[in-house]
Amino acid sequence: MTDTAVAKQPVPTARQLVWRRRRQAVARNWLLYRHNRQGIVGLGVMVFFIVLALVSPLLVSPADIEPATAQGIPNSPPYSGYPLGTDNFGRSVLDLVIVGSRISLLVGITATLVAVFLGATIGVISGYYGGTRLDTGLNAVTNWFLVIPWLVLAIVLSAILGASVWIIIVVIGVTSWAQPARLIRAQALSVRERPYVERARVLGCSDRTIVARHILPNVAPVIFANAILTVAVAILTETTLSILGLGDATAISWGVVIEQAFSAGAMTNGYWWWLVPPGVAIVCVTLAFTMCGYALDEVLNPKLRR
């Protein structure tokens, strides 16, 4: 503040400075990310499916995916107008895959928000108060969720709570926050010890200010990279629960399409066109999110940078 050379120009406020620095950081990271081939491919596929999910109501009319009004020949291999064949109601499998992207991505992304919110809150608090009794308590809870088999927990929860999309989201969120919490706690523990945090404390900042101003912004990259990876896991979890018959059978997701194919004997009857497309879609999307996550990890984590 005593630098007179700077004083001649319009003085940027602290806020402006911060944002400028953040913009620069984003630009720098984007530059790094752009040169990561895996990241770009993943991003492309991810954007494709997200756009597909958003515009799916324009591509598929509700009547075509309504069991009672579908016009196709039931259980038919691909033919004109039905490039991926039909299911037992005569619905186009292509339509189902397009419509299914909506629920699958909705569940994946929303459940991730739940998991990351829980994980970040618990991780940051636990990390910031590292070593205290609060930390020990939160850690115990985190450990408990880490060691119980998530699939069993998810099955039990969804069996008790019932099967609706929102419950599935909560179930996935509740079963997958522990790992992010762990990572975020570790990061928060290390950030906590840095000089600027100590300085802020000496200046008399409250815990809340320190967490909001200094800890959170510095663990944000970890949270973000982890969130992207968690989406992939959440989509797979939703698929798993649906295939096990624990999903919401009334909401068409890729997992539900596969489950219906299974229960209609698609494996034994050889209806490959009904099973393969949703499976491929799931693989593509989870792969895309995973690739993005890895790429982000490399960009944001200096230790991994090549």
């Binding site: 037992n88 005569g90 009334t250 004997g265 050889g270 499976g279």
Partner: protein, 595 residues
Amino acid sequence: MQRNARRLIAASAAVLIATLGLPLATTSAEESSAPSVLRVGVPNDLTSANPMSLRSGSDWNVATIQYDMMWMFGNDDLSAQPGLAESCDPNEDKTEWTCTFRDDVLWSDGEPFTSQDVAFTFQLIIDQGISTYSGYFTPTTTFETPDDTTLIWKSETPTNAPLVPPWIYIIPEHVWGQYADGEKVELKGVENIPSVTTGPFTLTEVNRGQNWTLEKNPNYWGDEPNFDEIRFQLYTNQDAMAQALKNGEIDVATYFETSLLPSLESDPDITVQRNVSDWWLNLAFNFGGQGPNSDPLPALQDKTVRTAIAMAIDKQGIVDKAYNGAATPGTSLIREVPAQWHYDVPEEDLIPFDPDAANAMLDDAGYKRGDGGVRVDPATGDPLVIRMPISQETGGALTAGQLIVGYLDEIGVEVKIFPVNEGKMYSYWNQGDWDAYIWYWTGEPDPDYQLSTLDSKQCGNLSDGCWSNPQYDALFAQQEKIVDPEERQPVVYDALALSYEEVPSIALAYPNNVEAYRNDLVTNFTPVPGDNGYLIPNYNNIGMVTVQPASGADSAANSSSTGMPAWAWGAIGAAIVLGVVLVARRGRRADDDEG
């Protein structure tokens, strides 16, 4: 251990012989020391071999094979035919029946069978209150056995029960007598393996969750069975059961899902039996009065609404899409078999599939379309929205429900389906917070039980939705009292006609039960009832006596499957490998970060 090992060797030998394509004729089987085995695939486990506590389909199958009833169900029409009993003659007012039993029957352990065993079984059921069977006896029923072949069945009120016939498996007093005075829980827990029975086979070995074996009863009073053993193999996965049949690992399998029909029918070595099933798919309306949270849609009290709903449902569409065509569209409360009690609704009384007429009916009745095309009840101002729980475990129910959502959308009735498990269905029924549900009904050949489910006295007991109609109650009470089947039939038909016209529930479909056998390995089943009956015994055990190895049973190793093309399997495999690799990598990465 030793025994198991030998059994294993025998089984492997049988499979080996079968796969090598050697003939498996009866003669060669008798000459060799290996017993001839009928291998049966089933999708549900044997939960109890105790005739006093039968639960799953397999329990009933096994009990039917081992035990005899007093009479035998007739092969064609399920009427009472001579079995253990040879005759039963009533006195004038049908309060005393004198039944004569065969004198040449031995239990499988060599003890003689007498009418005392029958009296014991019946008395045990009355004393212990075994609800599965106790409906056959009036409160004043007593039994006397003046000699070893005679049973006198007395009741103060007239009864027709001895000729229904009572579907009760007769058990030996010298084995079960010790449990007669004990607790019901203790009786129901009795395993009795190896069992003592009068039927053609006895249960000798049970491996829960895997398989169970019945061996020929050397003392069987009827014709000698052609197979020495029947081995049931449990397949919890339907696809696996279909593959096992195709590969010749089993000779016959039952309770197939209809979705597997295309695959089964495409195999020339497999003969498919679509039999008239003993259950059907039912849509019941809730009329309120049952459950603490009972709040059914008031508009459902209006017969016009219920009829319009029935008219909007394309039952043939449900048959085609939910059952692959292996079903008959439902009409009245009692399925097509036995034919004597199935009411064939006359053409002019049939509620047709006609959404346009249904729409016109609702328009005329003042149900105008409101927001989003959903009709509004003029009396309450509420939209016609139906909460419909669906039993997911009931075959075809969910598919039918998904179709019904669309069918009723056409007439401006919104349906919200809730696919749930069986336990949750009971909870809905208990609570009463539903408007209509899709579940199944099953009953015995006699119509009394089925008719009772709509009797208003059954509210909170057997009734689905507490429908109440004095005229129906009167007809039900009337048919119960008539002893002569000929006289009873018109009254039963009147009750069925009324319950069809008033639409307290809708019989959506009578699905077929799909069984299939390897026609190159086994032959000469006796389906009951009639040509479209069950192969694996459901009513009587004749089929297990007549079935025999197919002459010239050759290549069982026909493993040509019509599954997916190889590249599709390859793609799936690759996808799985990729997924595993990703997950593994992810796990490692996460660990690195943490460290």
